[in-house]
């Protein structure tokens, strides 16, 4: 070890040096992550207009938790998550397994599945709004061929969530496919060779080798997908505004409405705290629990 490096690795000087390096990042983290988080928590215990805030304890939490729309929104978000996450993960895995093999046109197909990832969700919403339009929309046009059609996909509380889920699967499955392709390339060849010698059938190989070995990838992608199901709400602005009758409303969009349409700051703060807790919960679950489970 040289004198230079020793100087670099201990002592007050290197402390100050490191703090200096971290400072630029830290200002912005403080301004736009730490402070807003603490501020939301604080504000969630107060009510009234901005200029005359009064401490109200847990009143606002009680109010929000008792609110039927809030419950509906949370339920919607869970449905949205359950509808999008397992399906896009399974689809992504299926696509990756078959597209991992070299065949004519496989890179073209990969492109076709991946390109929706880079298109802004707001533009996706424009395109799919046309697809879902009753009568002359693309979907109904297609269904007319079979004598069906004229369904108001986005206007009906029973179909709107399904329509959203299908669209998000289209947008995200290709993104998750990329992680599975990477995961597949890291699988040990010799295990497969051994299994082949033992005469394992393709499905057995998938069931007993590929699927378990891909587990770390699956868990990682699952965390990304779950957080996305709470973050991706841009499409609601164009397609439904959360309607009809809040049937497609999601938590983050509900926060947007509370804060910027109704200017109900206390409620928005409570909702933001709920969302922060959910996000922390998902990632904490990942780091503290799942990360330990998947080392084998």
């Amino acid at each position: 070890m040289t004198a230079k490096r020793r100087k670099f690795s201990s002592g007050k000087r290197s402390n100050l040096f490191a703090y200096g390096l971290l400072f630029p990042s830290f200002i912005f983290l403080t301004m736009f992550t730490f402070y807003p988080t603490l501020k939301s928590i604080q504000l969630s215990f107060y009510s009234g207009p901005m200029t005359r805030l009064q401490f109200s304890g847990l009143d606002q939490y009680k109010e929000v938790l008792a609110d039927e729309i809030f419950r509906k929104v949370i339920l919607n978000n869970i449905l949205f998550m359950l509808g999008t996450v397992p399906t896009s993960l399974l689809l992504a895995m299926y696509l990756a397994i078959w597209l991992n093999k070299r065949m004519a046109g496989s890179s073209l197909l990969r492109t076709s599945f991946f390109y929706p990832t880079i298109i802004p969700l707001i533009a996706v919403a424009n395109i799919w709004l046309f697809i879902y339009t009753p009568q002359y929309g693309l979907l109904d046009n297609f269904l007319h061929l079979f004598g069906a059609g004229d369904t108001n996909w986005l206007g009906n509380p029973n179909t709107v969530m399904i329509a959203m889920i299908v669209m998000i699967i289209w947008k995200d499955a290709g993104f998750y496919m990329i992680f599975y392709l990477a995961g597949l390339q890291n699988l040990p060849r010799d295990v497969y060779e051994a299994a082949e010698i033992e005469g394992a059938k393709p499905f057995q190989m998938f069931r007993h080798i590929t699927f378990p070995l891909l587990m770390p990838t699956t868990l990682f992608v699952m965390i990304v997908a779950i957080t996305n199901s709470f973050k991706n709400v841009d499409h609601l602005y164009i397609m439904t505004k959360g309607g009809p009758d809040n049937a497609s409303n999601l938590l983050l969009y509900h926060i947007y409405e509370a804060a910027f349409t109704n200017w109900d700051l206390g409620k928005a703060a409570v909702l933001t705290v709920v969302l922060i807790v959910i996000m922390l919960g998902i990632t904490a679950f990942n780091y503290l629990y799942l990360d330990r489970k998947i080392h084998y």
Binding site: P120, I127, W170, G174, A269, T272
Partner: protein
């Protein structure tokens, strides 16, 4: 079995491609043709009228300029902040390193996207509502970028570092001549993810901007699309949509390999 699976995948691939194909074709269709039915993937008399009209109705040039400024304004500052922070976490031992690292980790969990409302308050306290600066600032620190780059910096051999110091380099010269060049692929990966992410960002700029001068393309497009509700104007909305997604789609087709590998990089933990 094999044939069946490939068959399914080819069909899915075609279905996945249809929305892009369709928006592109519709953007060249005369207005009445869209609602009169007919085969939606064919235009009998293609026209650029939709583009002309869309271009005249909304200030797309200004929106393009705003988006460019925002996207690169975010990226340039990010490159500066993440380089310094990653260097500290990768190569300096200091008191409180673990605590600070966990604090950085928090941003991965609580991303600025979900702090719409409290961040609005911060920006309004700063008096910056309705500026391009306000759109950019919450993203100037990037925990994701710091972690990505720290990983790369850690792989730089100490020997190189020492050699440059023996040659009399100051720390910033070592950083500039040794670390930054060796992390070029990581910088490219980060830049692609950052640029495509901020090109697509919508909710935050929607809230924080309120004028043509500061609005990015995504918000401009949403307002433009909302002013047309009948199918007769689909052609125009499709043209607007194509204008917003085209730079990304073209860049994607040119840099496909880099895009795919950079999105893969974004999977680091």
């Amino acid at each position: 079995m094999k044939k069946l699976n490939y068959g399914i995948i080819i069909v899915l691939g075609i279905i996945s491609f249809i929305p892009l194909l369709w928006v592109f074709i519709t953007s060249f269709s005369p207005g009445n043709q869209v609602i009169n039915g007919g085969f939606p993937f064919w235009v009998s008399n293609p026209t650029v009228e939709n583009y002309v009209k869309a271009w005249e109705t909304a200030p797309f040039v200004q929106y393009y300029i705003n988006t460019f400024i925002i996207v690169f304004g975010v990226l340039i500052v990010q490159l500066f902040t993440i380089t310094l922070a990653a260097f500290a976490f990768a190569r300096v031992n200091f008191k409180g390193k673990n605590v600070l690292f966990i604090l950085f980790l928090l941003q991965l969990m609580i991303q600025p996207e979900i702090l719409l409302f409290p961040n609005y308050q911060v920006i309004s306290q700063l008096g910056l509502v309705n500026t391009k600066l306000a759109v950019m600032m919450p993203y100037w620190a990037s925990a994701f970028g710091v972690f990505l780059l720290r990983q790369t910096f850690k792989q730089v051999p100490y020997d190189l570092d020492e050699a440059s110091r023996i040659d009399g380099c100051k720390w910033y010269q070592t950083l500039w001549h040794v670390y930054i060049p060796s992390a070029k692929p990581t910088y490219i990966a980060f830049a692609l993810v950052s640029v495509s992410h901020h090109w697509s960002n919508f909710m935050w700029p929607l809230i924080i901007t309120d004028s043509v001068e500061s609005r990015p393309l995504t918000v401009g497009l949403a307002l433009f699309a909302q002013s047309y509700e009948t199918g007769a104007q689909w052609g125009m909305v499709a043209a607007g949509t194509v204008m917003v997604i085209m730079p990304l789609v073209v860049a994607f087709f040119i840099f496909q390999k880099q895009f795919v590998s950079s999105f893969m990089h974004s999977g680091i933990k």
